[in-house]
């Protein structure tokens, strides 16, 4: 595509959020980028920081994706790459579910409509979620991109995301000249990522579902930004960056493991009791645990990232445990800090004398490369 020689104009939606803001800062530093246009319904909460060193200029447009004003922006800046990050589980202003759904689905439809009319657009990157696979006991343990879930998500954000993916597939059929990438992210964590699951992990005591220990996967926000950057540029030789890719750190953590690493005690309750608590917490605006999150925290979900590593050519820098460790380090210590529990067992081992202490491997807690 010839645009890369002239310089690329990137339009990013959802820049008021943390991930959007980080992606904008990163993509502005990329060589060959002429201009970055940010779009969101609200101005960013934090002022846009000017990156050190050479960076492409940045324009922000406050507009609602549900209105057709976007066509004008696309034409005005001659946008050729659209990065759609505003499909999100929570609304920016309102937490009203129907408003969030409308902004996700109708917003995407409007955006795709505008892109279809804009001949200059040559690349589209859409942020989706691994939630499109749902969480069910009767599904395969590891989802690859090709697997159709037996129990597709019945509502909530995951359903929005699968509807959005459907519209994106339609768009890709109608505009075969546009390189389309759909990135299905696992739960994004990081020192200051504001994802719904981090709210849950901030609770002093974690209610869990009795008799279930779900497998969870995380992706670090640094990796999320890196994957988005890679998808929004020309593919490197030998790799393909169009299509659908699962994005998750390698490895798996069980919920019980997460709680122990965070140092937070768990409170196993029967499923109906947990559902009831979740409803209560939502109504009192205490914590927003949606039904689909509850399903995730019951049955878990793991995706296969072979395609990301081999076809897309990106190996996440953080594994799932490392990403979670980074997230945990940014939180305050819980009621049962692992260091303290370890110290108790170490002291007991030390009491056993040198024989005992020799048998205790003093492993580092957070292997970081």
């Amino acid at each position: 595509m010839g645009c890369s020689t002239v310089g690329v104009v990137v339009l990013v939606t959802g820049v008021a959020r943390h991930l959007g803001a980080r992606f904008v800062a990163e993509v502005r530093r990329r060589p060959g980028v002429d201009l970055v246009v940010g779009v969101d319904v609200q101005p960013p909460r934090l002022p846009v920081e000017e990156p050190a060193g050479p960076a492409a200029p940045y324009r922000f447009h406050q507009l609602d994706l549900r209105r057709p004003a976007l066509s004008r922006v696309l034409a005005e800046h001659r946008v050729d790459t659209v990065v759609h990050l505003s499909v999100s589980a929570t609304g920016l202003g309102s937490t009203n579910r129907s408003a969030v759904k409308e902004s996700n689905v109708i917003g995407t439809m409007q955006l795709l409509g505008a892109c279809q009319k804009a001949p200059g657009v040559s690349r589209l990157v859409v942020k989706s979620t691994t939630g499109v696979y749902g969480s069910a006991p009767r599904d395969p343990a590891v989802f690859s991109e090709r697997i159709q879930p037996k129990d597709p998500p019945g509502g909530g954000f995951a359903k929005d995301a699968s509807e959005v993916e459907g519209y994106v597939r339609g768009f890709a059929r109608r505009r075969p000249d546009v390189a389309v990438t759909v990135l299905r992210f696992a739960n994004i964590v990081g020192p200051d990522a504001d994802t719904p699951l981090s709210e849950y992990f901030a609770l002093p005591v974690l209610p869990t579902v009795l008799g279930y220990d779900p497998r969870l996967q995380f992706v670090h926000e640094d990796d999320a930004v890196a994957v988005l950057c890679r998808a929004s540029g020309e593919p490197e030789p030998g790799t393909v960056n169009t299509g659908t890719f699962n994005v998750a750190g390698e490895g798996v953590l069980l919920l019980s493991q997460c709680a122990r690493r965070l140092g937070r005690p768990t409170l196993p309750l029967l499923l109906p009791a947990v559902s009831w608590m979740a409803v209560l917490a939502r109504q009192t605006r205490l914590v927003d645990v949606s039904p689909e999150q509850l399903r995730l925290l019951t049955h878990g979900r793991v995706v296969d990232t072979t395609r990301l590593r081999e076809t897309f050519g990106y190996r996440p820098a953080f594994t799932t445990p490392e990403a979670f460790a980074d997230f945990a380090a940014a939180r305050g210590p819980g009621l049962l800090p692992p260091e303290r529990l370890a110290a108790v067992t170490d002291r007991l081992a030390a009491l056993l004398g040198p024989e005992g202490s020799a048998a205790v491997p003093n492993r580092p807690r957070r292997p970081r490369s």
């Binding site: 006991p137 009767r138 599904d139 395969p140 343990a141 590891v142 690859s144 697997i147 579902v209 009795l210 008799g211 279930y212 220990d213 497998r215 490895g251 798996v252 953590l253 069980l254 019980s256 493991q257 997460c258 709680a259 122990r260 690493r261 499923l271 878990g300 793991v302 296969d304 445990p321 210590p333 049962l336 800090p337 692992p338 260091e339 303290r340 529990l341 370890a342 110290a343 108790v344 067992t345 170490d346 002291r347 007991l348 081992a349 030390a350 009491l351 056993l352 004398g353 040198p354 024989e355 005992g356 202490s357 020799a358 048998a359 205790v360 491997p361 003093n362 492993r363 580092p364 807690r365």
Partner: protein
């Protein structure tokens, strides 16, 4: 360890632990210190010889290993694979709990464990019986204990297992996963030993009168998985499990109400209540037969239904034949 003991000067000495810098709460530290002092004093003083006599020589080492295990568990410092298999928990706890049942209770005689490859994927196909999948769990124990490479059997279980709370958690941690093509193939391609009981509920829930008669082998999906992954199929015959819970009746209405495949009636259950849930102490034999190679078939063989059915039949015949052989050789059900 003995070398370390000789080099070290003192015994009950508190060693500063680097990895525990945040010993923040003074109250907690005081309590732990006092506790440590008391226990340490007692062990180095009067209780030391008593403990040695009670737990045998080298109890300190074992206690230290136990503490190290506890330390990893309470801090979450262990790994599980994508399927939720918790190797450490399985080896240290789950298999240890099942081992007495395999060794002392059923006194399992294991034959042909060398037919399971030393490394790389393999698909173990076995007959199913006994109302409760004890046969599958016992197979997992004997493969781990008798195989020179201490391999772990990754079982493909019915979806009912993953719907039940508690059971699904344990099953995942023990390395089992849902019986579906995707999971079977993923595990085989990773070079795991995968176990499948293709008779399913038809086999495990069959009446006692039909014991050791192999039921239909489903759709033969396990053969396609083995063909795709190009791993050998190891037929496995289990004798003795049929008589653990002789099923003489089935409460169909209750089963339908509870959403279970069957609710068994045995000579002891439900009449004797919880005692009736004890399996009968039968003598078991588990024999692993000659592996059936699948890498001689072309790549597209997995899509050929005739070949898949033929292979499934071959495996089934082999298991049935070996079952009859073992039954003829068996002296009695219990000895």
């Amino acid at each position: 360890m003995s070398a370390a003991a000789e080099n070290a000067p003192g015994r009950a000495k508190v060693i500063p632990i680097e990895s525990a810098p945040s010993w923040t709460s003074p109250e907690g530290a005081g309590l732990a210190d006092r506790l440590a002092g008391a226990v340490g004093g007692a062990l180095s003083g009067p209780l030391g010889p008593a403990a040695t006599r009670l737990f045998g020589k080298g109890w300190e080492g074992r206690a230290a290993e136990g503490l190290a295990f506890l330390r990893r568990r309470v801090t979450g410092d262990y790994e599980v694979d994508e399927f939720g298999f918790d190797r450490e928990l399985t080896e240290e706890v789950l298999l240890s709990l099942l081992r007495p049942l395999a060794e002392k209770y059923f006194r399992i005689d294991v034959q042909g464990v060398e037919n399971i490859p030393a490394e790389g994927g393999a698909l173990i196909v076995a007959n199913h019986s006994g109302t409760i999948p004890l046969d599958a769990l016992m197979t997992q124990v004997v493969i781990h204990d008798h195989h020179p490479n201490r391999r772990h059997l990754r079982m493909l279980a019915a979806d009912l297992v993953f719907v039940l709370p508690g059971i699904n958690e344990l099953a995942r941690k023990a390395g089992h996963t849902l019986a579906c093509n995707e999971d079977a193939q993923a595990l085989l391609e990773r070079g795991e030993v995968v176990g499948v009981w293709p008779e399913g509920f038809k086999g495990i829930g069959k009446p006692f009168s039909e014991r050791y008669k192999l039921q239909r082998f489903g759709r033969g999906g396990f053969v396609s998985s083995a063909l795709r992954a190009r791993v050998p199929i190891v037929p496995c015959s289990i004798v003795g499990a049929e008589e653990t819970y002789p099923m003489i009746g089935n409460v169909r209405t209750l089963a339908r109400l509870l959403g279970l495949p069957y609710v068994p009636i045995t000579p002891t259950f439900p009449w004797l209540g919880p005692v009736g849930m004890l399996p009968l102490p039968t003598k078991w034999t588990i024999r692993f037969g000659e592996p059936i190679a699948t890498d001689t078939y072309p790549a597209e063989a997995a899509e050929d239904p005739m070949l898949v059915f033929d292979l499934a039949d071959e495996v089934r015949e082999t298991i049935q034949h070996s079952l009859y052989q073992l039954l003829v050789q068996r002296r009695s059900v219990f000895f």
